[in-house]
């Protein structure tokens, strides 16, 4: 149970939209690009599908970081799902800040289906930043 800091690896949940970012991750894979294996990918139809509750729940269940990635603005498969999502995340980030959740723990990004290398670079950046912060304990449910 007790992870020592030396060999600790962050667990990061990535909500990826089916049309852009998931395909971007796929491309990174078939292009054999290396990126840290800390992701647990959850494929969603659109970044607009993600309920802010999922992010809070993920943090409560003990993940160290959450990444949400959708299509670039203007490129959404459903025209504007990602822009609606952006408003929701701005709102969520605002009160996560109140709870003392570091902004780097919950990240929001755009990756298109053709951006395999961008995806790999993004994951490297996110994993590095979360590693820097250390394990997330704040929201994890404890006893009472």
């Amino acid at each position: 149970m007790n992870k020592t800091v030396d060999n600790w690896e962050p667990k990061i949940v990535a909500f990826l939209c089916n049309w852009c970012s998931y395909a971007g991750a796929d491309l990174a894979g078939v292009s054999r690009l290396q990126y840290p294996p800390n992701l647990r990918v959850i494929r969603v139809p659109c970044s607009g599908r993600i309920n802010p509750l999922y992010i809070v729940k993920a943090l409560q269940q003990g993940v160290d970081g959450v990444l949400v990635s959708g299509c670039h603005p203007g490129d959404c498969h459903y025209i504007s799902g990602n822009l609606v999502a952006r408003r929701k995340f701005a709102l969520l980030k605002n009160f996560l800040a109140y709870l003392g959740i570091e902004p780097e723990r919950v990240q929001f990004s755009w990756v298109s289906a053709s951006e395999g290398s961008r995806f790999a670079a993004l994951i490297e950046k996110v994993v590095d930043e979360v590693k820097e912060l250390g394990p997330a304990k704040k929201l994890v449910k404890k006893g009472l």
């Binding site: 809070v56 409560q60 822009l83 995340f89 709102l91 605002n94 959740i101 919950v106 929201l139």
Partner: protein, 389 residues
């Protein structure tokens, strides 16, 4: 005072008060609205038979206006919720509805969520000096049987908040920056006027001409200088108080441990949700399968952590409610009044809500034509706020 633009656009006239009986003169005006069939029915707070409180009443017979008190010093129920019920299906004629500023703003928010229909409603906003807890008012009357509703108007002209018999206004009223209605069809003004002699009547927009004709009112442009001065003073004072309350609260919730400590006595009764005018969902997520767990699930959780709190999900409950309604929160404070554990829900929403509202440049209840922030978006915005480059 950009939020108060609506008030300035209205035209106004003075109603003379007879025998220093402000409430009677107001009732007389409301009676005229009914008798002339300008409205078919009227929703207005009425004194309870026992004299120890007020409830909103739907009045069809103008004789029943006796004991009506449009400026009741309590708010038993958020009238926007009543209005939602009252306008859920089509009806003939017009209903006049007397609303406090926060009730009117909540009603405007509910129009945006398609929960209130104001087509056949004449909104009559009243200046609100503040309200007492329902229980406090009953106690005050019990202690002093002679206490008349008129006595509660004392200090209203200056918008003063002074404790009476040791009771003060509800905290949310003490920090409310909207003592005057933003945009009713009719506004009844007290602030800045000597209410033993006169009351201000303002009309704007769709019923202005009809009102002027039917009641031969001489409606003039502009607001009295003194009224504006008093509004400015009251708003300023309350804003200062608001900053103080919110700053204190900020210290209490700025990290998750403190946040949870502040909410630790929450018993998950859902009262705050049930009385909230903005929490309108008929199918609430907290009453759905999402929060219905299998017995084994509870046991598993308990096994993993040694012990779990029951009922659980307190943090998720408050965070979800916040993300659902903080942008539209009008600060009516019904959640505070309904909380059996005296949690500072209203100021918490005020704290988080006001930042979000600022971020989206949104004032809830300002204008029914304004879209609620989470239902619209701009192509190019919030890059920094959402944390995406």
């Amino acid at each position: 005072m950009d939020g108060l633009d609506g008030v300035q656009r209205m035209k106004s006239t003075i109603i003379k008060v007879e025998n220093k009986d402000t409430l009677r003169s107001l009732r007389k005006f409301l009676g005229r609205l009914m008798e002339s069939k300008f409205v078919e029915a009227l929703l207005v707070p009425k004194l309870l038979p026992g004299g120890d409180g007020f409830v909103q009443s739907l009045i069809k017979d103008s004789r029943m206006l006796e004991d009506a008190n449009p400026i009741a010093p309590t708010m038993a129920v958020q009238s926007a919720r009543i209005l939602s019920e009252l306008t859920s299906s089509p009806f003939d004629g017009r209903i006049g509805v007397v609303l406090k500023p926060c009730e009117l703003r909540a009603a405007v928010e509910m129009v945006k969520f398609l929960q209130v229909n104001l087509d056949n409603v004449v909104t009559i906003g009243v200046d609100c000096p503040g309200t007492y807890e329902v229980g406090d008012y009953a106690e005050m009357v019990k202690k002093d049987r002679e206490l008349s509703p008129q006595a509660f108007l004392e200090g209203a002209s200056e918008g003063e908040i002074r404790p009476r018999q040791g009771y003060n206004f509800r905290e949310c009223c003490q920090i409310c920056e909207y003592p005057v209605p933003l945009n009713g069809d009719i506004t009844i003004g007290l602030l800045g006027l000597d209410h033993s002699k006169e009351i201000l009547l303002m009309a704007g927009g769709r019923f202005e001409k009809e009102l002027a004709q039917k009641f031969s009112l001489e409606l003039k442009e502009g607001n009295s200088a003194n009224r504006e001065k008093v509004i400015e003073k009251v708003t300023h004072k309350r804003r200062e108080q608001r900053v103080k309350v919110i700053d204190e609260l900020k210290e209490r919730v700025n990290i998750i441990e403190k946040f949870m400590q502040t909410l630790s006595t929450c018993i998950r009764c859902h009262n705050c949700m049930n009385v909230c005018p903005i929490c309108y969902c008929k199918e609430c997520v907290f009453k759905s399968l999402v929060f219905e767990h299998r017995s084994e699930q509870f046991l598993n959780w308990a096994d993993r952590r040694g012990a779990i709190r029951m009922p659980g999900d307190t943090l998720i409950f408050h965070l979800t409610r916040m993300s659902h309604m903080a942008t539209s929160c009008v600060g009516c404070g019904m959640c505070d009044s309904a909380c059996p554990s005296d949690l500072p829900i209203s100021s918490l929403f005020g704290l988080i809500g006001s930042e979000l509202q600022e971020m989206f440049e949104y004032v809830p209840g300002r204008d029914a034509a304004e879209e609620p922030p989470v239902s619209v978006f701009k192509e190019d915005e919030l890059q920094a706020e959402a944390g995406s480059e």
